[in-house]
């Protein structure tokens, strides 16, 4: 299936049709999610209105981890099957994922100020999100650290895969270390322990942000494909000019 999608022309043709649909879904879920989240959901009996930060915080935390997973998967595709498109995908996923991890940290500390009384608490989940941020940063820095682009993307892909092996261990060890965060409340055995009215905007926001990042990834990959085409055309025209000069 990926083999089939990896042809840039086919990718362009298919995404041409999908892209508007994704945009529409993003807008609808984002608007309805924000409406339900900000106006039509109950206040928490302890946290008051500050609970509404959750509708951005939880989806971006989920996406930051999910995007790292997909980054590593596309790096595997790049290293094993050497699809050039996989490299483009992973180099666009990395900044988006890093953005979401920053968003998680910022909203987490905004939420922490009224709840815990400080901007930053070294709690297990925030700490492992910080580590995830550094994995993204390392990937981006390493992929730009070489003279030739292809060396950087190969080496950084290995780093992403090592990170995929290491991240669960980091997550586990940081959890083991200490925690004062709330235990997971959405995915839990015996159903979620959260009110339906709060769950609805949360799920809508998760869908909205996921489709948004999918849209951004497709857009970025298309831009990079066009850039590559331009580079190739430029080289070609330069070559023709050079040939003409040599003949004269």
């Amino acid at each position: 299936m990926f083999d089939w999608l990896a042809n840039p022309n086919r990718f362009n043709r298919i995404t041409e049709k999908i892209q508007p649909c994704i945009l529409v879904i993003t807008i609808i879920t984002l608007i309805s999610g924000l409406y339900f989240g900000l106006f039509d959901s109950p206040k928490d009996y302890q946290q008051g209105d500050a609970v509404r930060i959750m509708y951005v915080h939880v989806p971006s935390a989920w996406l930051a981890s999910f995007l790292y997973f997909s980054l590593a998967i596309s790096c595997v595709f790049y290293l094993v099957w050497k699809h050039p498109l996989a490299d483009l995908v992973s180099s666009t996923i990395a900044p988006i994922g890093m953005l979401f991890s920053v968003l998680t940290l910022v909203t987490g500390s905004l939420w922490g100020k009224p709840m815990w009384g400080t901007w930053w608490v070294w709690d297990a989940r925030l700490t492992s999100m910080l580590v995830l941020f550094f994995f993204y940063l390392g990937y981006i820095l390493l992929s730009n650290a070489f003279e030739r682009k292809i060396d950087g993307s190969k080496t950084a892909s290995v780093l992403a895969i090592v990170g995929l092996i290491n991240l669960p261990i980091v997550k586990f060890s940081v959890d083991w270390w200490h925690t004062l965060h709330q235990p997971a409340s959405i995915i839990k055995i015996g159903g979620p322990s959260i009110d339906d009215k709060m769950l609805l905007p949360l799920i809508l926001m998760i869908f909205a942000l996921s489709f948004f990042s999918l849209y951004m990834i497709i857009l970025n990959v298309k831009t990079k494909l066009i850039e590559k085409k331009c580079e190739a055309l430029l080289l070609k025209s330069n070559l023709e000019k050079y040939r003409k000069q040599v003949k004269i």
Partner: protein, 229 residues
């Protein structure tokens, strides 16, 4: 005598080579220990000379000092061989690169850990570490040092030929090393409050075993990428 060397012989000869290179000049060894002493001094100067405070965080200072002292010397492990063409030669040899790298990381482990074990009494005095901790500390720096050198080889292979690799290396390595710090400090802390540290020790050993398996393959893969440039 047959010309075919067994893997064990190759392994031992590589370790010997690393030892010769590293112990011929003692600068590296001395710099690791003095760097660690300086880090400890900085910590003590930062928190002030208070006995109670020091007792609470001495284990953390010891482990952070250990990790920070090892990191600067990691970069050289492969870079030197890459620069003088030794890696290009050994990739053409019939010996698998994975074996060479495994022996390299074990040699590096011994080179780093021997001076640290010798200077352990010094740190016990400096940091006021409880005497009943010594056997556990010894085991945990042996195991933890092995995993640091295995991860370090990966990091060193990642930054081969990179621009500003020496600055990049700590950023790539430290997130991978976090579990070692947590389990290592966990061992010392559980002993300090009179509980069994066996759980943390097993976790540390398990972490090390994972990297013992994957590290030679990953770094050999990376070196093949670097050589093909």
């Amino acid at each position: 005598m047959s010309l075919q060397l067994s893997f064990i012989q190759i392994f031992i000869s590589h370790i010997k080579r690393e030892f010769l290179i590293n112990f011929r000049s003692l600068v590296d060894v001395i710099s690791i220990i003095s760097f660690m002493i300086l880090i400890v001094t900085l910590f003590i100067l930062g928190i002030g000379p208070f006995e109670e405070k020091l007792r609470l965080i001495s284990n953390a200072i010891f482990w952070i000092g250990l990790i920070l002292a090892i990191i600067p010397s990691l970069e050289k492990t492969l870079q030197r061989d890459y620069d003088n063409g030794w890696l290009d030669q050994s990739i053409t040899s019939p010996t698998p690169m994975e074996l060479i790298l495994l022996s390299k990381s074990l040699a590096y482990w011994l080179i780093v850990i021997i001076p640290l074990v010798i200077s352990l009494p010094l740190f016990i005095v400096l940091l006021n570490i409880n005497l009943k901790l010594i056997p556990w500390l010894l085991i945990s720096i042996l195991v933890g040092g092995l995993s640091i050198s295995l991860i370090g080889i990966i990091g060193s292979a990642l930054t081969l030929g990179a621009k500003r690799g020496n600055i990049l290396l700590p950023i790539l390595i430290i997130p991978l090393i976090i579990p070692i710090l947590i389990f290592g400090v966990g061992i010392s802390e559980t002993v300090r409050i009179n509980e069994s540290p066996i759980g943390n020790l097993f976790l540390l050993i398990g972490f090390t075993l994972i990297y013992l398996v994957i590290s030679p393959f990953i770094s050999a893969f990376l070196i093949r990428i670097a050589i093909s440039r």
